[in-house]
Each structure stands twice: as C-alpha cells, then as structure tokens.
Amino acid sequence: METDPYQLIEGMTIAGLAVGANQGYIYLRSEYPVAHKILNKAIERATEAGFLGKNICNSNSDFFLEVRLGAGAYICGEETSLLESLEGKRGMVRAKPPLPAIEGLFGKPTVVNNVLTLGAAASILEQGSETYKDFGMGRSRGTLAVQLAGNVKRGGVIELAFGVTLREVVEDFGGGTYSGRPIRAIQMGGPLGAFLPASQWDTPLDYEAFAAIKAMIGHGGIVVFDDTVDMAAQARFAMEFCAVESCGKCTPCRIGATRGVEVIDRIVNNQDRDNNLILLTDLCDTMELGSLCAMGGMTPFPVRSALTYFAEDFSGESPREN
C-alpha cells in the first residue's frame, strides 16, 4: 500500500469487475497515516487516468474506490466487524451465516479479502493461473508476502513461494537476531499466532503443515524473539491484547480474556498453581471452541504454545518484566 498502491488498486478493480461490484472500499487502520496519504493520492491519480471511476478504460464498467479509515479497533480486521465499521457502526462481530458474500455491506453481497490476496490478482491475471499455481507446495499454492519483523537483523517484506521453512526465512533472509543473541521463539501469523520453539522452525510455510502443529501462517507476519524474552509475559500479553481489543460481544472473549490475564498472573505467582494451570487450559478450550470469531478463538494459540513449549517461564522463577 505504501510502495506500490497501484497493485492493490488494480487487484481490487479486477475483483470488482469479476463480481460485478462498482464500489470498493479499502478499510485502512488509522495507525497507518503514511499509507493513508499514499493510497488517497494513488486513487486520485488512477481516477484521473481513467483507471477508476465511471467507464473505466472505456470498458462501460464503473468502479469507484474509497479509503475508509478505521479508528483504533483491531477487531475491525475481522470481516464482519469490518463491515459493521464501514457501515458507520460499532465494530461488533456479526454471527455467520449469512456470509458476507450473501449479505454483506449495507445488506448487499460483498467480497471481503485481504490486501495480499487482492495484491496478487493482477500478476495472476497477467501471468496466468498456472504460473501462479506452480509456486508453492501441497494445497498451499502461489506466493506469500512474508513480513519479517521483530528482533531480526534484516526485516521487511519478502514475497516467497509457499514451502520454504521458517528457519530459512529467519536465518537466510533475516540474518538472525538484531541483538545478535540466539533466537528463542518465533511468532507466526500475527498477535493470535502461536509461538514456535526451535524444534518447529523447520516446518515449511504451508497452511496444512502449520495447522498440524497447531500454529498458523495467518497474514504471514513473523516476529522473532531473542533469548531475553519472557514467554509467560508474552502469553499474558496475548490475553491482555484480546481483552483490550475484544469487541465484547461473546462471553468467552469478553470475560475470558480478562480472566486469562488474572489466571496467568496467579500461575506465575505460584498461587494454587496446579489448579490454575488446569483452569487456564479449560479457559483456552472455552475460548477456542466457544468464541464467536477468530479473535477469541485464536487468542489461546499464543497462550497454549507458550505454555507448552516454554513452560519454564511460567514457573514464577524466571525474571519477568511488568
């Protein structure tokens, strides 16, 4: 969006033409003021050049594109919450069905995709689906724009075919940690992604392979932590983040996340430790199986993985911040 906004604009236009939509919205987080300026400018230029608006490229088709700014709500990345927000409402998650493709924005059928998908559309059309399909492995075809971040020497976005291992990405592309200390954990797929220990770094970037280890590729974000990380604090943060960003509609997420923070605190403080560990597992089950959307449903991923692979950090003996 910041360096090649036209790729997204083109992708959305293609998608719009494909489904017969004549209005597209880019729902952009307000935390990205730079992207906001660039996208607006790009849309303005594309419209002036006849690539957007009425009768685009003399095709007798119209496609209008508008950037709508979020207002500080992570949950609005969830597709139904995003639609509510675009409608000018509280970003509360909708129960599905109906799926947005049937009844979406303003009650109309709506395609909701992420930037990566729409960004890939133009090159797929240009080079043919076969070419795109040739990349990747198993059922995960094509490429993934990996965002390498955190404590890493060379961070940034790398577009790779599925199948490369996490270790290759972090070590070969990233060059190890920024701090120069050993890597201890890698979080893959955003704040709701699992923390992976060294034993799992050889997992290839493939949806099925990640699902098999109860992790996810998600949006392709990779965050590297060195050996100073306190994984109990990270687990606690996952719950805390969920508590801060939950829309509050469903009970497992609304109350569960807050209780999660409290239970983890009791565990690390050695209060009735064994029972609280059981309770935390129960809570993770409840959130995972009972939540209305992925926010509450996936918050247990980082928590459980930290608890499983970095249990020593929950002993209450490791030095913790906060």
Partner: protein, 948 residues
C-alpha cells in the same frame, strides 16, 4: 384464564414464515419446521430445551452468549443453535460431555462477574441466568471473585417504574436489541467494548435523561435482575396471573395482570395478544397505579345542589334517589328531557346496557357516546362509502404495506404499540407519507424518515385529499379494473368529473393548504403506484368541520387505487380510547341501535322490541352538543354520564359549564371526582378495568376479554350499577354475568352473532363480523365485495371552516396527545407518568414567538373567539409558522376554554383541531383558570365533608 404465575414459553428465536418445511433430527427426535427456523427454535418446538441467555423469541438471533452451542453431524466445532438455521436431514446433538463442559465453563465466566446474592435478589426464582446456571450444572467458580468485575457499578433508579442495576448485567444486549427491534426507539447502546462494555441509556446518562420512552421492552427482555420493575423489587414475585386487555388507547393490547392476591404486582404484555404480540407502552405497562389511588371514590354520594356538601349513601339509596329525580323531571319536562352519555372506556356490555336503559327505561333515544367527539365522522364516512363503520384491517397487516399514509395521527405518542410495528415496517423499506401540520416523530426520528411530509394548514385536509385524488385521476394512475368491478360506476364517473376539475389541482389547492404542489404530486404518485398502500388516520382527520368529508376522501383514495380488501392495504382509523369502536358498535348513537341499524327501521325495532319487551322510539335522540344546547335552552334537565369527563373534554368549556349548571339532575359514574362530577348531584362510583369482566373492541374490530382481577372497590362493576339504576326506573334487567349481556348482543346483532365468551376464551380474540359465515371472525374486510355492495365515491367539496385566521386571531391552534398522558389525564395524572409531562405547554414557532417577544418557558395567553387560557411557551420548529399546538391532559390548561362550537357538518364532531387564536406574553394564569382553581378547591372541600 386465571393461571398460576409462569413465564410465557420462549422459543428462543422468532418464528419463520416460510411455507417450505424442513425435517431434521434433534437428539434423535424428528422435527419438522419451516425453512429459516433456527436449530434452537426447532428444538423448542420438538420439546428439547437448549440452554441460552442472549436468545429470546421476540428478537433476532444474536449469537453472543455461547451457551446454546450444539454439535451438528458433519460440521466442525460447536455452532450456536440460535444463529444456525435448519437444513433438511440435519442431525443435531444438544447434549454431550463436551457441550456440557463448554456450557459450564462459559457460565463460570459469567458468574465470575456476577453478585452472589440470588437469595435476596428481586428476581430470585424468575431469572434466566439462575435457571441456566442450574441447567448447565455450574457448581464452582474457579476464577474466584477477586478479579476485575462490575460488582460496584452504580444503580440507576431514575425511571419511576424500573431499576437498572448494571452489576447484574451479562451484556446479552437483549435490552438494546429490544429497544431497537421491538420498540424502535434506539435509546440504548453498549458503551465501550470488551470487558469494559456496559449498557448505556443515551449518552451514558440516566434512563430518565435519555431518549428512553419507558415502554418496558428492555425490562421484558432482560434475563436477569438488571432491569427490574420497582413493583417486583418492592412486592416480590407474583403468584397468579390473569390475561386481560389494556384500558388505555385503541390499540387494545393484551396484558397479563400478574397478581399477589388482589394486588397487581405488574402488568406484562401478553405474547399471544394479537394486537400487541408481546409489546407495550409506558401507559399500559406501568401506569396502572391509578386503580388504587387514594382519590378513588368507592361509595355512592348524593347532594341537592352543587353548592352542597356530598353525602355518602348506599347504592340502593343513590339509585332510587336518581330514579325518582329522573322520573320527576320527565313528568315535569317531558319524556325527552333526560338522556345519557356512555363511555368508550367502559366495556361493550356496559355500553350496551346504558343504551338499553335509555331506550327502554328513559323511553327515548337520547343516548350518545364520547365517540361523538372523536370518531363519529369515521362511522359516517366509512358507512357511506364502504358500507361499514369500521377500519378495514388488522394491525399485523401493516407488515405487508409498501406505502403508508399517516394522516392526522401521531402514532408514536397516541398509539405507541402500533407505531412500533409501523416503524419496523418502515425500517424494512416501506415508504411513508405524513400529512400533518406538525413535524411529528414519524417525519424524522432515528432510522425513520418520511418520504413526504405534507404540512397541511389546519382545516384544509379536504383540499389535500382532493388534490391527491386529482393527481391520480388526471395522470391516469387509478386502478381501472378494480373500480369497474367493485364500485358504483355511474357515481364514479360523476366523481371523476368533480375531482378532475382544476380547482382540485395541487397547484390550486396549495394556496389553501400550504402544501407544496410538487410534493403533493409526488406523494400521490407514490401512493398510487408504490404497491400495497395503507392509510392510517386519526383525530386530525375527524375533528374538523369537514371531518366526515375527509374520511370519505380517504375512502375514495383507497378505492381509487384498489387499496382495499387484502393484506397490507386499507383504511384504518386509529381510535383514541380503548373501546371507541365497541361503544359505537353497541348502539351508542342516538339514531342507531346496536350494529349500526337506524332507529327508524321497523324490522330492526321490532327485533329489539320483542327481546326487550317495550316499544321503541323511532326518532333519533339528541347528540351530545344538542344536549348541551337543549340544557341551556331549558329543555334538557337530567343526564346520566358514565365514565366520560365532558366538562374537560368537550369544546367551548364556558358553554359546557353553562349547560351542566342548567341540568337539574346530573349523575356521574366515574372512578374519580372528575371535572364533570364537580357539577353533579349524584355520584356513582365506577370500577376500573381490573375490577370487572367484559370485552373491549379495538381499532381493528378485535373483541378481547377484560377479566376481573379483583372485586370492585365500590361493590359493583359499572354494568351492575347501570343495571340497578335501570331496574329502579322500572326496567327488567337481570344479568348474572357480562357473558349473558354478550349473549343478548350476539342474539340481536348479525355482525356479532358468533361471539361468545366461550369462543373468546378459545380464540383469544375475535375480529367482527363474526357469524355463521365467518365463525373465527374477519381480520380483513371488504375482501370480495364491499359491505355496501358496490363502493361509493362520495363527492367531497372543500368548504373552508368558519374558524379562519385573521388580523385579530392570526394563528391556528391545533391539539394532540403526548405519550405519557392519556386523554384528559384522569388516570395517567395519578401515576408517575406525570414525571414525563407535568403540564401542557404551547408549541410555537420561533418566528411567531420572536414577533411577540416570547421566549421559551414564558407564560403566554392564548385568546380565541370564545375564551382565553394561559400556558408556558415551548418555542420549537416542530410547528410551522402560523400554527400553534398544545395537548389537553391537564384540567388547569383549559385547552377547551378556547376551542369553539364549530363541528363536523354531518356528525357534529367538534372542530378541536382548528381554533384561530392570538398569542401574547402574559404574567399570570387566565381568569378562567383562577375561577377553575377556586371552584376545584370548593368542590374538593365539599367532597372532604362526605368522607368525614
């Protein structure tokens, strides 16, 4: 219908109206339900209860509580049964150890932020949270109670009727959704998000400061003690309940009177009541306290003159005293020197008895009813054009309407439960045309915008109706085939000649009505071409010198566009009081016997004469205004007035007071010493709707049972009082129960011949006509043909009212109602409803106010040709320049001191809606108000003497 108290069954999600059926198995039980039904509802219908908290069948499924999760063969995870719809062959399991654990764990989270005070909680034993915790088997809360919580959240006690205790809230949003989906006010929201979420009225303010209209839908929807009636907090859970019908407006809502012994603990809207389907308003839901108010008079009283103190006497003495006085008056002044006025607040049976007493005991036809002053033009106009004096539809029919015209009615204030239905339909996309001088709430309010608001100048309705018809005819938009098939074609041709004339064009009528021609044309096209068109109208149509003409104009429009005789269309008078329709049906007019049959008709008369054993007068009696005139002329000397406060509600108060003072024996039967009773010689204590059996008939012709919840405080229900008086006059009336009166009505009235209490108990309610052809009643009238045969297009010439603005009286005053108060306020003023509306004010446009140096809140004098009163000014652009507006709920306001004697040409319904006035800034109440105050004080002292 007396039953032990039990909440009504809740299927969890609304009913699907699909005609396609789907069969599935739930826990091995085969269930067949309409497509679109939720798994939860299907389970309920199959006898399987799935625990839930955020679901209730009055609201769309929401999916937030996550208690109702189930397993479905072939689907991953645990779908919520409320948001999952059934599919053919689906196999659902509602119980398993995994589900059980999940539900218990979710419940554990709820209870970790909930006070542990079940035993002392006001809804102990009537709490869905408590029940559900039991159902899921919660035994411990492992999180403890030390964590973050909302237990110290402050209570909001601002609403007089219910408490909001957020510490008990589980954030199911049922209240918020009820306010939106059921009531349509959108006064509630969730403030914040995540764990900090909390229910908020308005902008995180108290309920009373917010947009809340206190309909109670949120209280009904709340599954916990968060929103609880104060009466329940004070008195505890009810032990039995009685289904009855509300005694306020013409919507006729069904309620469960929830009782402890003879005390009403609360009134809850009855889901199976077809008029309201489980919804209510602030009056019916909460304002029942008047029934036991200390002002109730429970003993008969008599006095020689209105300057004498009252004397409490026995029923026997009061009744024989009255009979003797009446007989003496008749002996002295003639048979037609006495009469009676019956009440649209009383039951059908009571109204029937009053007219029977007049026609048999008084020996004349001097019987009229308060419908005279509200909807008599409806009776005349609809009978003339369609053949029946009643609205054509059910309320539910509006759910099929595509274009709705609301004319001279303000449903959100006066018919709130119907308004909620209407608003729901409008939110679904139906179009709306409002014809009203004021910008009523329906013109613009949250999620509602009228497509056209035609701000008609008071008194010119007929020009607007004619212009609408003119556009339809001249643009060829009429329903040609429908008219040819169903209407009198020769009369139609004559009418077309009349209406097509240029004098009815919007461009020409604009000068009278003030309605922009372009808007009017567009509205006409919309109504004629927008699909099902339904017209709802109120007293803003009838209470005019051309009230009857306007009603006929409305019927013409509906016939012209083929909008009669099916679902979603029709002509629908919104009746003011609970039993206006019924009181008219029961023969309360001086020219008509029950069933709208003229007294001059020999066969009809003979039918009644045989049954009643007397000879009936074949000539019409006096209408209410005629009675007043005759009283002043010295020809009318005795009046029995039941449940009607003519001194306050009838126009030109000076004139009415003069008439009342001229009456030698005025008998008032009421629950309070009302304004009229202050002029009375005999006071017979009335009974409230809670104290008697009977039936009310609402605006959709729906006859519903009124059931006794407690014995009459005075020892006699109103029908028993009337019967005693009738017998003292020599009639031979012996009824043991109102059902016997209904049996007599059914015997004598073809439209009621199939009605009986037994059938009412079976069906819940019946819309007349109910006879051999339509044994279950008639939801929609004129389906195949009009009652009169062919529809008649009446000529509706515009005749300007004499009440015109001029230099001396440059503004036009019109009147209306407000939500919290009811009519003359006798009931609602004796409840906490006055907290919303403690006084009547005068609405005046900022421009008119500024010209007169009037500021918001100033005392203003309102001078008409007949009188003056003083109110506080409410400077607002709800009214347009040139128009002022007030309500008439408080006696001291004297709204009728300024209204004139003008009345409808055909029915003498007073022209309440147009009074030319001048407004000026003043410093004190008017001389009438001062006199009223001292008279009031004097009369209350005379009452006190009776009580000691």
């Amino acid at each position: 219908m007396l039953e032990f108290y039990e909440p009504q069954p809740d299927f969890g999600t609304p009913q699907s109206d699909s005609e396609t059926l789907v069969t599935l198995t739930i826990d091995g039980i085969s269930v067949t339900v309409p497509e679109g039904t939720s798994v939860m509802r299907a389970a309920s219908e199959g006898g399987v209860k799935i625990p839930r908290l955020c679901a209730t069948d009055s609201l769309k499924s929401f999916g937030s509580c996550r208690i109702c999760l189930v397993e479905i063969e072939g689907r991953r995870g645990f779908p919520a049964s409320c948001t999952t719809t059934v599919t053919e062959g689906m196999e659902v399991r509602t119980q398993s150890s995994e589900i059980g654990k999940l539900r218990r764990n979710v419940m554990e989270l709820y209870i970790s932020d909930h006070p542990l005070d079940c035993l002392t909680c006001p809804t102990n034993g009537d709490c869905e949270l408590q029940d559900t915790a039991g159902e899921v088997g919660l035994r411990a809360v492992r999180y403890g109670f030390e964590g973050e919580n909302h237990l110290v959240a402050e209570k909001d006690e601002s609403n007089p009727y219910f408490t909001f205790d957020p510490s008990k809230c589980i954030l199911c949003s049922r209240c918020v959704r009820a306010c939106e989906e059921v009531q349509g006010t959108f006064a509630l929201t969730i403030d914040g998000r995540g764990f900090d979420s909390k229910v908020s009225a308005g902008q995180a303010e108290s309920f009373m400061e917010s947009e809340c209209v206190s309909c109670g839908a949120c209280v009904d929807a709340c599954p916990t003690a968060t929103l609880t009636e104060k009466s329940i907090i004070e008195l505890g859970k009810p032990e039995h309940s009685v289904v009855t019908t509300c005694a306020y407006c013409g919507v006729g809502c069904s309620f469960k009177a929830e009782m402890k012994g003879n005390e009403v603990v609360r009134m809850t809207p009855y889901k199976d009541g077809k008029a309201n389907e489980g919804h209510a308003c602030v009056k019916g839901r909460f304002a029942f306290g008047y029934t036991t108010h200390k002002d109730r008079i429970t003993k008969p009283m008599i006095r020689e003159s209105i300057d004498d103190p009252w004397r409490e006497v026995s029923w026997d003495e009061a009744v024989s005293y009255t009979a003797e006085r009446f007989k003496a008056i008749q002996a002295k002044y003639g048979r037609i020197s006495i009469g009676a006025i019956s009440s649209s607040r009383c039951t059908n049976e009571e109204v029937y008895l009053v007219q029977k007493m007049v026609r048999t005991g008084f020996g004349n036809n001097n019987i009229d009813t308060c419908a005279r002053v509200c909807h008599s033009p409806t009776g005349f106009g609809l009978k003339t054009t369609l053949g029946e004096s009643a609205g054509t539809q059910t309320f539910a029919s509006v759910e099929k309407a595509d274009v709705v015209i609301v004319m001279g009615a303000n449903p959100t204030e006066a018919h709130p439960v119907f308004a909620s239905r209407l608003k729901r339909r409008l939110r679904e996309g139906a179009k709306l045309i409002v014809i009203d001088p004021r910008q009523i709430e329906l013109v613009r309010s949250p999620h509602i915008v009228a497509d056209y608001h035609l701000p008609v100048r008071p008194g010119t309705n007929v020009t607007v109706l004619n212009a609408l018809a003119h556009v339809i005819v001249n643009e060829g938009l009429q329903a040609h085939d429908y008219i040819a098939e169903r209407c009198e074609t020769a009369d139609f041709e004559k009418w077309v000649q009349f209406i097509a004339d240029e004098r009815h064009s919007p461009e020409h009528t604009e000068q009278f009505s003030g309605v922009p021609a372009a808007d009017l044309r567009a509205a006409a096209r919309l109504y004629a071409t927008g699909g099902n068109g339904a017209i709802f109208y109120g007293l803003g149509v009838t209470e005019h010198s051309q009230g009857s003409t306007a009603v006929m104009g409305i019927a013409n429009l509906a016939m012209l566009t083929g909008n009669l005789g099916r679902d979603g269309v029709g002509v629908n008078p919104l009746r003011g009081q609970n039993n206006v329709q019924g009181s008219c049906d029961m023969g309360s007019f001086p020219h008509e016997l029950p069933g709208y049959r003229h007294v001059s008709n020999v066969a009809t008369r003979q039918l009644f004469e045989r049954e009643w054993g007397v000879t009936l007068d074949s000539e019409p009696g006096l209408r209410i205004p005629n009675m007043f005139d005759a009283a002043i002329d010295g020809d009318f000397k005795g009046l029995y007035c039941q449940g009607e406060d003519i001194a306050q509600s009838d126009p030109n108060t000076h004139h009415v007071e003069a008439a009342l003072k001229a009456i030698e024996c005025l008998v008032v039967q009421d629950i309070f010493l009302n304004e009229t009773a202050k002029f009375a010689h005999v006071f017979l204590p009335g009974a409230t709707f809670l104290e008697k059996d009977g039936t009310f008939t609402n605006a959709e012709r729906r006859i519903s049972r009124v059931r006794k919840t407690m014995p009459p405080l005075s020892g006699k229900a109103d029908w028993e009082g009337t019967m005693a008086l009738a017998n003292a006059l020599g009639c031979n009336m012996h009824y043991n129960h109102p059902s016997e009166i209904m049996d007599e009505i059914a015997k004598l009235t073809p439209t009621f011949s199939g009605v009986s209490y037994k059938k009412l108990d079976e069906l819940g309610s019946i819309q007349w006509p109910c006879n051999d052809h339509t044994p279950a009643g008639t939801p929609i009238m004129h389906v195949d043909e009009f009652v009169r045969g062919k529809g008649f297009f009446a000529i509706t010439e515009y005749v300007p009212t004499e009440e015109r603005a001029n230099r001396k009286f440059p503004l036009l005053l019109t009147t209306g109602r407000i939500l919290s108060q009811y009519n003359v306020g006798a009931q609602t003023r004796r409840t906490s409803n006055s907290q919303w509306h403690a006084e009547d004010t005068l609405e005046i446009h900022p421009h008119d106010a500024e010209e007169r140096g009037i500021n918001h809140g100033d005392w203003v004098g309102i001078q008409s040709r007949v009188g003056q009163t003083v109110l506080h000014a409410d400077v607002t652009s709800r009214v347009k320049p040139g128009v002022v507006y007030t309500t008439f709920h408080h006696p001291v306001s004297g709204a009728n001191v300024i209204t004139t004697d003008n009345s409808d040409w055909a029915t003498n319904c007073p022209e309440y809606k147009v009074t030319a006035v001048q407004i000026s800034k003043v410093t004190a109440p008017s001389s009438w108000q001062a006199r009223q105050k001292s008279f009031d004080t004097q009369q209350l002292q005379l009452l006190e003497k009776a009580r000691h």
